[in-house]
Every structure is written in C-alpha cells, then in structure tokens.
Amino acid sequence: MATRRSAYLRRYALFASLSIMVSIISVSVFAGAPVPDIPKGKGDKCVEDTQFMRESHMDLLLHQRDDTLRRGIRTKKHSLKECIACHVVKDSNNQAISAANPKHFCRQCHDYASVNIDCFQCHASKPGKKSVSTGLGTIRPDSEFGLAEAHSLKGGDAL
C-alpha cells in the first residue's frame, strides 16, 4: 500500500516538475512573441478607461446596438461608428484602411488573440465620406464631421 502511494507521489512530483518546466519555457516564448502594435486614436483619451475597453468593448457595443436599432437611441459615446471614426488608420496615400487590412485598429488585437470579428461583414470598417446634401438644405454630418466634437462632449451627449 505504502509503495503504491509513494509511486503515486513520485509520479505526481515528476508531472508537477515537468509542467513547471513547460510553463517556464512557454512564458519565455510568450515574452518573445511580438505584441500587437495598437494605433493611437484621435483625441486625448478614449471614452472609457483603456483597460475597461480591452475587457468590455464588446459588451458596450452589444448594448448600444440594441438601444440604437430597437429604441432609436443614437448617443455617440459607445457607438461603433464613432469608434471606427476615431481609431481610423490611414495608409501611405492617406486613405483610411478597411478591416481587410491587417493594420486596421480592430484587427491588430483580434488577429493577435485569434478572435474573429463578425461586425465588418455588414458594418463599415472605415469612416464614411463627409457629405452635404443639396436637397432641402439639410446637412448630413458624417462621422468625421461629428468626430471633431465627439470627444469634447460629455458621455451620452449628442450634437
């Protein structure tokens, strides 16, 4: 009985030491891996704390999507359109890049974490062009126009 027990302990010790070694190796490998190069957004700071955004941006977007679509609430603070406008990445020709480009803001982290983004199957992944309609004299402020003011407003405020 005692021998069987010590054999078990020995095996456990071996397993434990092996797993510690493996984890040390993997940590050192991990540390050497390239970290995502996250492009800086416009303005001084994000609408929320960076760490909070890293963990919870998807919850904010999910909440906002239902509020906007079903209840017509169109606040700018947590709107995908505003995220896209603020975190736009330009190419060498100064054109905004879409999510098809791995340098896109969202893709930097999502590629790194191997998490697929479904949003851009339907949603625009780059800001729209500024457009003013000629019609009744109504103005269509598009993302970039609205963006300049977006961060000077308190959360939830609209233009």
């Binding site: 209840r71 609430i73 169109r74 199957q121 339907c122 009744l136 939830g156 609209a158």
Partner: protein, 249 residues
C-alpha cells in the same frame, strides 16, 4: 393671489423658454429648415408611440419618366446591384398600374408600407423583423437567420434578400449577406430630424409627390392633408393599417 402669480410665472417661463428655443433653431445653421430641426429628438431619448411616421404619395404628381426616388434610395443606403434584377436589392420601385377598361394608367413608388400590424413581424421566428415604437418596421440583421418567411408574408413584395457578399457598405446602413432587408424609412435620417432620401429627391425633382411626416401630429402637413383629402391604403382590405397612403389610384 399667490397661486395666480405662480401661474403667471409659469406662463412667462414657458414663453421665454420657447423664445430661446426658437432663436436657437433659427440661428443653428443657414439653410436648415426650421421644422426639420424642431422635429429632431435628443439622441439619448428612445422613440415613442406618440409619433407615427408615414408617407402620403400623390400618384398624380408621379411622372413615368422620373426615377429620382429610386436613385436617391440606392445612393443613400449604398444599394449596389450585380446586374441580376431578379435578386438585386430593391427597397423602392416604380410601379405602373393600369385600368384595363379605360386604359388609364398611373405611376407610383412602392416600398415597405410600414404597417401598424405588420405580417412580416408576425411570422418572424427569431424576432428579427420588428416594429419600432414610432411605427418604422425594420429587420434586426444581428438576429436575422435569412429564412425569408417575412418576404413570403409581405403582400407588398417590399423585402429583398442579400444573396452576395457585400463590401464597402455605408456607415449609416450596415447590410450583409444572408439577411433580409427593406426600406427603413431612412431611419438614420429620421432620427437626425431629416426627411427620407426619396421624399427629399422627389422635392428636388420638382414633383413633390412624396410627403413625409408624423401621422399622429394633427398639426403636421401630412395629417392635415389626409384629414382634408381622399387617400387610400394599398390592399386596405387586409387591415394591416399601412403608414403609407396614396392619392390618385
């Protein structure tokens, strides 16, 4: 006496408040129509059933050679075709109706009729097909599974199915393969206090056949006109109470 004084104060305050609001709307930007601004709701406020958006379409003013509303809709919502008319998205289309006995024919634009009792919402198995409080019927593409029951249920043939992978969608109008879509009454514009693109284009084309407004507001142009003039709902016998009314058909 004190009570009366308070009452007067309230009136004064209200009057002054309205004056300030008016001044603000007048000076907000040159060329912006006053009634457009006045109608815009604050962005953080949810839509309510106090408002019911609708169209009044005068078929007599609709010209057979004019396609301005269709073009404007396609441009506003980024609807691009694949040269496959059977399956390409079509949110608004021009229809010609003819009286077989007299040969009298008339043109009209046909789109989602934004029914008060929408059959597309009744049949939707996921709750994607939905009606907003203000009467605008929409598809929640996040939960649409593309079963197309709603397309079968709609008596106006108003809905389209996206068959192909799309790119370059507009920021205001997300669209994607495998979902059903239809006229949104330009909900993104309406929420900003503007009129739908087709109605604006119709005014620009100097036809003025499409009038947009709040059916519930007795002081709106549309409510005044439907109260004073004859108008009909297409397939009114189905009792779906469409938000779109027609004249001259």
């Amino acid at each position: 006496m004190k009570q009366q004084q308070n009452k007067i104060d309230t009136y004064r305050r209200k009057f002054l408040g309205e004056g300030v609001a008016l001044a603000a709307t007048v000076t907000i930007a040159p060329g912006v129509l006053l009634h457009n601004i006045a109608r815009a709701k604050p962005a953080e406020e949810a839509v309510t059933s106090e408002v019911r958006w609708g169209f009044l379409i005068d078929a007599n003013k609709c010209a057979s050679d004019c396609n301005a509303c269709v073009t404007a809709c396609n441009e506003e919502n980024g609807l691009t075709g694949f040269d496959r008319p059977e399956t390409d998205a079509q949110w608004i289309r021009k229809v010609t109706v003819r009286d077989k006995q007299t040969n009298f024919s008339v043109n009209l634009p046909m789109m989602c009729q934004h029914c008060a009792e929408p059959p597309c919402v009744d049949v939707c198995p996921t709750g994607a097909s939905m009606k907003r409080e203000d009467g605008i019927v929409l598809v929640d593409k996040h939960i649409c599974i593309g079963c197309r029951y709603c397309m079968m249920a709609c008596p106006y043939k108003a809905r389209s199915f996206v068959h192909e992978t799309l790119t370059d969608q507009l920021p205001d109008m997300p669209r994607g393969k495998g979902t059903v879509e239809s006229c949104t009454l330009c909900v993104h514009r309406v929420d900003r206090g503007e009129t739908p693109a087709c109605a604006e284009a119709c005014v620009d084309a100097e036809k003025g056949a499409i009038l947009f407004g709040d059916l519930n507001d007795a002081n709106s142009d549309i409510a005044k006109r439907i109260a004073a003039e004859a108008s009909t709902q297409v397939r009114g016998d189905l009792r779906l109470d469409p938000g779109v009314r027609y004249q001259g058909i």
